[in-house]
Structures are given as structure tokens and as C-alpha cells.
């Protein structure tokens, strides 16, 4: 029975009512396909604007959008973006004012369309995403924010993996600004308020797991009446061993997941560069200090470290050296952190120069361990205001100072950060960037980010496949492999009738070099992969319904056909990501254009809405009397630019390539087999002197 209050809320609703919102996700070997089905009813006699809005994870690419309005189907089309023209306000032209959320890493897909009077509209959206492994688990987030109470709301997530699924967790609904759909966030998040019991059904078999969440309208109203339910978060991991990893083969493509365990930790040399400008005053510096105190406790005996604080002035805790982790040094470091005071402006350039020279000097000194991993963790809450303030100059200076000897990991707190600068700084120097929202728990997030990179297990990782058997292999050289993460490589097989694919992984680990080799039986793997694609397709088919008659069968079928080519799509997905990264690292404008062209072509081929493409949809014209006009208009879907990487709108100086192993990509070039040849197999000469079987 629907309570009177809920009925009142529904009756007061002026915008078209969402009768059904069904979200169906299938995750096959970490590649997630999501199909969203939204049916809206315009109860009024006059035409009304219906707005379909859905938060898409920042790492995902929208791969299809279709509307059915007044019985007519409006199919989207992915088109290459026109060359950008700089706007006065610095924003691209096609960005609608209301489309993007304040957090640039959250993509909000938004489509407004006029729905004729007493008529229905159906919106169908699909997106794809390769889940990244962080802190030893994959996290899948679905945003449940329909902005109103929905008559039928269902979320189905099916996880199918080649390896047994372990540690499955379904978290309480996450809400608030800090809990956006961004997959790039770290740290624990708290649910908005205690939830009423809404049954989440979890069916878990060894390699298949089904999770269903379908709160009825009353249960939704008990959580919130504004339709902002929050993020539905699933975390899991899969079983793995210290082998060459999991290789899956399907229709002439392969994907290789490499996440070895049981490896000893490589010692690290780390310099923390912390912003102490005036804007850090209050919560930010307090939470930063809290995190640093915790991080100090987690440093390992073999590590070396130092701290730099910067504002107008640069302060170095231990001038000209990196100190070992001893109780005395940790105690002194705590004192230094405790006394950090906020004042003045933000001199990013000098801070980076000082941090880099500290690490460089240490690495060229006699104490440096050759196989240790070196990194700078840089944290700021603002733009450069003191010293050098030009981003391009700071980036150039940083590159020159780093000399490809170590990696830079950057963290920005709040809204006043030049995230483009931080992202490029990290990307050009084999690191990563993280964003901490103004209201978020910076302490937990900084600690979470440190946890991700605090345990390096391998460095200089090179993954090679049989010469002349593969082509267009995605990034296969990596600077570091951190505990809890995963390296994923995909490629095309040139010879599909080949029996085996030889895989070789070489890497360094503290004082050892490691070579892992195996021959992958291609036919057997193809059969195995087909088997679990079948399992996924069967899981998707279960409980499907049909669009147009209030069902999602069509989407289920569409997802099924995508699943059948999931290895190729993983390859396409990774190749596009590689191309976008390579574009940022291009040395010349020609190179940059080439990368843009390649990434655009791939985006078009796989129908991905990327920073280089637009999603164009025909829109129905509704006449004043509420009926449909004969010729529809064409509109680019909003949100199509929200995920642009830094540098998309900036035609700055051509950048030098990173040159580091992790910095190189091979998005659509065949580099395999030429750089590293398979070592000749040694014949073993052994004496007869032996002790053997009975």
C-alpha cells in the first residue's frame, strides 16, 4: 500500500513521472557493460520536457543512447568532434550549462526531450568500463539518483569471471558530494543516514554472482523523497596466484590480466611535498597532518623519506638527504608535521624543484639501492600563485628536474586546484593524480591514495608476446606494479590458427630480476573464454524485458551481443585510453594529431563517447498542441565533454614524451617482438650424480 504522503508527493510532481528505471550491469572478467532503461510518462495533456539524467562513472565510455518517443525511435550517433575553438570563458561551445556536475570527474549524461501530452518516452543508455583493481579489489558503482520516486526501480548486477569471485561486498548506499560516481576516489565513505531494510538479493556461485536491488516506492521514500538515493557500490576480487596471470582469448583478440601476489615489497624512496599556503588553514591542514601521521606509521624499515612544506617559502625537513625509517627519524618527522603552519601563497614550481633535487641527489649517491622505487607525493589545494605560475613552464621545469628518474603522484584538495596541471604533471612523470573534494575526509583519502602506491612489488615491467603473432598491443611497459593493483594488456592476434602464444614478463624486484614465461594454448583459452561469455549471456537473458512495452529484453540482447565480443571491446577501450594518454605526451603537433586521429577512429569504430567524439541524437519536435513535428532536430548529448582529459582544450607547447617505461604506450602500433626477443632456451647440462624417484 502506498502511504498517503507518498501519493501526495507523486501527485504534486509536475515533471513527467519515471514509471520504470532498470539498470542492468554485466561484468565479464572486469569489463562492465551497463544498460539503463528509463520509461517516463507525461500525464499532462500538454507536451512537457522530460529530462533523463544519469551519472556515468568517469572511467566509463557511453556506447549507445536511444530514445523512443511517441512510438518513434531516435538513435544516437557518435561523430568526431570538430576542432575546438577556444571560448572566451575557456569552456567548449557544446557544453551545456546545466550538464556537468561541479566535480569534473563525474560525468552526468543528460538528455532533455519534449514528451507529447499523455504520452510515454523511453530512454536507453549503455556504457562500458574496465574496472580497475585498487587496494586488492574491484569496485563497481551505480548511481541511483533518478531525482524522483520511481514506480519500478531495479538494479541487476551480474559478475562473471574466469576465476572464482572472492570477497564480495555490497555496501550500504553511499551519498553526499564525497560519494559521487567517480571511480577514481579512494578512502572509506559513509552512508548518508541509516537505511530502512531494502532487500538486496545476492546469489553467489563460484564464478557467477548476481546482485539485485529493487526498492519499491515506499522503501525509496523512506530513504529520501527527492530521488537522490545514492551510489550502489559493489566490491569484489578474484582468486589469483603468482603466475603469468589470466589470459583470455576470443575472436582474434586477447586480454591479459596480470596481478601477481606473494611478491616481496620493493623498498621506496619517498618525498612528501605538502602545501602549507594560507588556504590550507583549518580542516585541510588538520586532516593532512592526520594522514601524514598515519602514513609515517606505515613506512617500512627499508624505505627512505623526507618532507617538504611549501607556501611562499620552501621548508625541507632534512636538508639534502633522504633518511631511513628509524624510530628516531619518525619521531622527528612527527614533530616537523606537528609544527606545520599555514601562511602565504602557493609556490608549486619551487616545491617541485626542491623535491626533485632531493630525490635526484639521493639516487646518484652511494646509499641508493638500485632497484628501489622512488616517488614524490605532492599535495596542494590551490593554483600556483607565487614564483612561476605558468602551467606549461612548471610542467617543463618538472620534467627537466625529474629526468625520468622517479614518478610523481599528485593530490588536489578542493575546488581551487588546477587539476589539469596536476594531472599532466602526474601523467608525464609516470604517476597518477587524485582529487579530494572540498568537504571530503581528506585524511582518509590521502591515506587511501598512499595505501595504493605505498607497496611497490615490481618495477620496470615489460610484457612481451610471441614475435609476429600479435599486433596493436596496448601499453605493455610499466614503471611500477603496486600491491593490490592490476596490469591489463590487450591485443590482436595476427595468426588465429596459431596453437600457442608465448608470454614473457620481465621485471625487477628489490635485488632480483624476474622473468615469467608461459605458453598459452590459444584454442583451449578460446573455448574457456567462450564458456564464460555464454554464462554471462545466460545471466543477462534471465529476467529481461522489452523496450516499448516496458521491458528490457532489447537491451539484454544488445548487451549479449556486446558480451560476445568483450575481449575485442576491452582492446578497443584500452587502445582509446592509450591514445588519449599518448596525445598528451606527444612531442610534436604531428604526433599529437596522429594520436588524436587514431583514438578518434577507434572511438568511432567502437561507438565510444570519448573526449574526442560527440554523441549526436535526433530530437523530436513537439508542436504547441502536443503532437510531434515531422522532422526531428539534431542535438549533441550533454555530458559528452565532461570527461575530457586535461589538455583537451589547451593547445599548449608540444610536450616531450616521458620516455619512462610506464610512460610509453603502444596504442595502435605493433611494437611487440621487436624490442625484446624471447631468450634462447638453454639446454641443461647436468651430471648423473643424483637422487631421484624410487
Amino acid at each position: 500500500r502506498v502511504p498517503r504522503q507518498v501519493k501526495t508527493i507523486l501527485s504534486k510532481e509536475t515533471k513527467p513521472h519515471i514509471q520504470e528505471l532498470s539498470i542492468k550491469t554485466t561484468i565479464i572478467s572486469r569489463y562492465a557493460f551497463t544498460a539503463v532503461y528509463c520509461a517516463m510518462l507525461n500525464r499532462h495533456s500538454a507536451a512537457t520536457e522530460g529530462v533523463f539524467q544519469f551519472q556515468v562513472p568517469a572511467n566509463a565510455y557511453v556506447s549507445n543512447f536511444t530514445m523512443i518517443i511517441g512510438g518513434r525511435v531516435y538513435q544516437s550517433e557518435v561523430r568526431p568532434k570538430e576542432k575546438r575553438v577556444k571560448q572566451e570563458n575557456g569552456k567548449p561551445k557544446n557544453k551545456e550549462s546545466g550538464d556537468a556536475s561541479p566535480e569534473p570527474e563525474v560525468e552526468v549524461f543528460r538528455m532533455a526531450a519534449n514528451i507529447p501530452g499523455r504520452n510515454r518516452a523511453v530512454f536507453l543508455l549503455t556504457y562500458e568500463e574496465l574496472l580497475q583493481r585498487r587496494l586488492g579489489r574491484y569496485e563497481h558503482v551505480t548511481s541511483l539518483r533518478p531525482l524522483q520516486l520511481v514506480s519500478r526501480l531495479t538494479l541487476d548486477v551480474t559478475i562473471v569471471d574466469h576465476s572464482p569471485i572472492t570477497d564480495l561486498q555490497v555496501l550500504p548506499l553511499r551519498n553526499g558530494r564525497s560519494s559521487s560516481a567517480s571511480s577514481s576516489e579512494t578512502g572509506p565513505k559513509t552512508p548518508a543516514k541509516p537505511e530502512p531494510p531494502v532487500t538486496t538479493v545476492i546469489k553467489n556461485e563460484k564464478n557467477v554472482c548476481k546482485i539485485t536491488f529493487s526498492p519499491n516506492i515506499v522503501q525509496q521514500a523512506k530513504i529520501t523523497t527527492n530521488g537522490l538515493l545514492g551510489d550502489f557500490v559493489i566490491r569484489y576480487d578474484v582468486q589469483r596466484d603468482m603466475g603469468i596471470g589470466d589470459i583470455q582469448v576470443l575472436n582474434g583478440h586477447f586480454v591479459h590480466y596480470f596481478a601477481p601476489k606473494d611478491l616481496p615489497v620493493v623498498p621506496k624512496n619517498v618525498v612528501f611535498v605538502i602545501d602549507t599556503s594560507a588556504s590550507m588553514l583549518g580542516t585541510k591542514i588538520r586532516q593532512t597532518k592526520d594522514a601524514l601521521f598515519t602514513i609515517l606509521r606505515d613506512l617500512r624499515p627499508g624505505d627512505r623519506f623526507n618532507f617538504i612544506s611549501f607556501s611562499n617559502k620552501i621548508k625541507v625537513w632534512q636538508p639534502n638527504r633522504l633518511v631511513p625509517v628509524t624510530p628516531l627519524n619518525v619521531r622527528d618527522a612527527k614533530k616537523f608535521i606537528y609544527t606545520l603552519a599555514t601562511t602565504g601563497g602557493t609556490n608549486i614550481d619551487d616545491a617541485m624543484q626542491t623535491g626533485s633535487s632531493l630525490l635526484r641527489d639521493y639516487l646518484s649517491g652511494p646509499d641508493a639501492s638500485p632497484n628501489s622505487v622512488s616517488l614524490i607525493i605532492f599535495l596542494t589545494d590551490g593554483r600556483p600563485t607565487v614564483g612561476e605560475i605558468q602551467s606549461t613552464v612548471i610542467l617543463g621545469n618538472t620534467r627537466s628536474a625529474v629526468q625520468e628518474k622517479f614518478c610523481i603522484f599528485t593530490i588536489g584538495i578542493g575546488n581551487d586546484v588546477d587539476y589539469r596541471l596536476l594531472e599532466r604533471m602526474a601523467l608525464e612523470n609516470c604517476g597518477m593524480m587524485r582529487r579530494i573534494h572540498e568537504e571530503a575526509d581528506a585524511s582518509a583519502m590521502l591515506k587511501g591514495f598512499y595505501d595504493e602506491i605505498g607497496t611497490p612489488l615490481l618495477s620496470d615491467i615489460r610484457i612481451n608476446y610471441t614475435e609476429d603473432s600479435v599486433q596493436y598491443v596496448t601499453q605493455h611497459l610499466f614503471t611500477n606494479y603496486f600491491n593490490g593493483s592490476e596490469i591489463v594488456i590487450a591485443g590482436k592476434l595476427t595468426n588465429q590458427s596459431a596453437e600457442i602464444l608465448h608470454v614473457q614478463v620481465t621485471a625487477s624486484n628489490s635485488d632480483k630480476s624476474i622473468i615469467l614465461e608461459t605458453d598459452v594454448p590459444l584454442r583451449h583459452r578460446q573455448i574457456e573464454t567462450e564458456k564464460h561469455v555464454k554464462a554471462a549471456t545466460a545471466a543477462m537473458a534471465g529476467g529481461a524485458r522489452t523496450p516499448g512495452s516496458g521491458s528490457m529484453q532489447g537491451l539484454g540482447v544488445a548487451l549479449g551481443s556486446i558480451a560476445e565480443d568483450f575481449v575485442e571491446r576491452v582492446w578497443g577501450f584500452l587502445s582509446v585510453k592509450d591514445g588519449l594518454r599518448s596525445r598528451l605526451r606527444s612531442q610534436t603537433s604531428k604526433e599529437r594529431e596522429d594520436h588524436i586521429q587514431q583514438a578518434t577512429n577507434l572511438s568511432l569504430a567502437y561507438h565510444f563517447l570519448t573526449p574526442l567524439t560527440n554523441l549526436v541524437v535526433e530530437k523530436p519536435e513537439v508542436l504547441a498542441d502536443g503532437s510531434m513535428a515531422p522532422a526531428p532536430t539534431i542535438t549533441p548529448a550533454a555530458g559528452s565533454t565532461a570527461s575530457e582529459l586535461p589538455g583537451d582544450t589547451e593547445e599548449g607547447e608540444p610536450q616531450k614524451p616521458n620516455g619512462k617505461p610506464g610512460g610509453q604506450t603502444s596504442s595502435v602500433r605493433n611494437t611487440i617482438g621487436k624490442a625484446a626477443r624471447r631468450p634462447a632456451k638453454k639446454s641443461i647440462t647436468i651430471s648423473k650424480t643424483s637422487a631421484d624417484g624410487d
Binding site: I244, L263, A691
Partner: protein, 241 residues
Amino acid sequence: PHFVVEFPLSKLTVCFNINGEPGHILRLVSDHKYSGVTVNGKLIGAPAPPGSHKQQRTYFSTITIVVDHPKRAYIEVTPKKVILDGRDRMVLPCHSTVAVDSGALSVSIVGKSNVTVTIGGNISFVILLHQYKNPAPYQRDHLGFYIGQSKGLSHNCHGLLGQFLYEEVGLAELPAQGDMKPSPILKVKGRSVPVVQKSRKIYSGTQSVDCWFARNNAAKLIDGQYEDYMSSHMFDTGDWP
């Protein structure tokens, strides 16, 4: 297990059996004081094949190598995995090909086939991985231990295999007595060991070797007796008494 000892200087090959007890740990190579290397092997038992009147079979289920120089390292090999324990621990599966090289010590696994441990460039041991797809009740996954290179081991090296590395043996004949034909004997360290000629399969049965077989658990061939070669634990580096 059966043992084969090659005496290159004497151009002779000798073989013998050691019928140990399951759970016993045997010292195969013991040179802890000098080169810093010790090799122990743990026995596992399996029932005798049906119809035979033989006693139960024993195999090596684990081989451990303790290395003292330049850094202490422990290598534990089983048919399924290799655990490399030095300053830090690494667990490597035996089903895939892996090589770990830290200069003085390297471990190389050829998936499902063998493990080579090289110490300081002049000592190497090869451990064959015997894995059965469908083992009979009397078969167990086990290991074979082969000495690849022994130049780095000292003249004081001992153990069931180690004691013969720098020895020379001579072959003689016991004169015929009564109806008995002349029988061959080995002269080892001043001892006379009666032997018979036999053939043994080595390297996973891929090769056959003709050898002089010493009976009775290598009595008189080896210094002391079986119990003298028993270690208290897998990483025991105790020397020859």
C-alpha cells in the same frame, strides 16, 4: 629413492638405494662451513605396487637448499611451488616458467619440468619435477635432485651425494671361492664394497645409465650409516660428525 654417483676421474658410475622412512629428512649435500651450501630432502611414502613383494616406496617430496653466502637464503622446492626466502619471501608456482635472479643466487623454473638453482656461478643444482596426471596408488608427485655444477663446493663437502664429489674409486674383483664366481668390488676410501652391474633410468626416464650397484642401503659405500644422514628439520645445516 635411488642414487647415482658419477666418478668422472675414475670413469665409473655407482648407484645405490636408500630406503628411508616417510617423514625423514636426508642430508644430500652438506658444505655449510666452506661454501655455505646445504641440501636436504624430505621423504614421502607410498605403498608398494600390487603383486610385488617390495617394501613401500619413498620419494623426495621437498628439497631444501640453504645458502649462507653472500646472503643467507632458503630455497624450498616442492612439486607445486618454490619458496625463495631471503631478505624477503617469494612464492613461485611450478606450473609456469619463471626466473628470479639476484646476482649471486638465481632460481629458474621451467614450468612443470624442472627448477635450477645456481649459487655464485659455480654451483648449480637441478630439481626435476615429477608430476602425475593420473597417479596410481603407489605413485606420488615427487622430486629428483641432480648436481649440475659442483666446482664451488669444497673438498670437505659431505652428505649422501656430497661425500663422493672429490673421491676416486677403483674397481676390483674378489677372487673366486669354491663354486662362487669372482665378484666385483669397489674400493672406496679404503673400504671394499661388493657391487653388481645394473642399469638405472635417470632424467625422468629419458636416459639409462649403466652403474655398479651397492646393496644394503649403500652399506660400506657411504660413510657411517643411514641415521648419520638424518636431519632434524628441513633447514638443518648440521655438518658431518
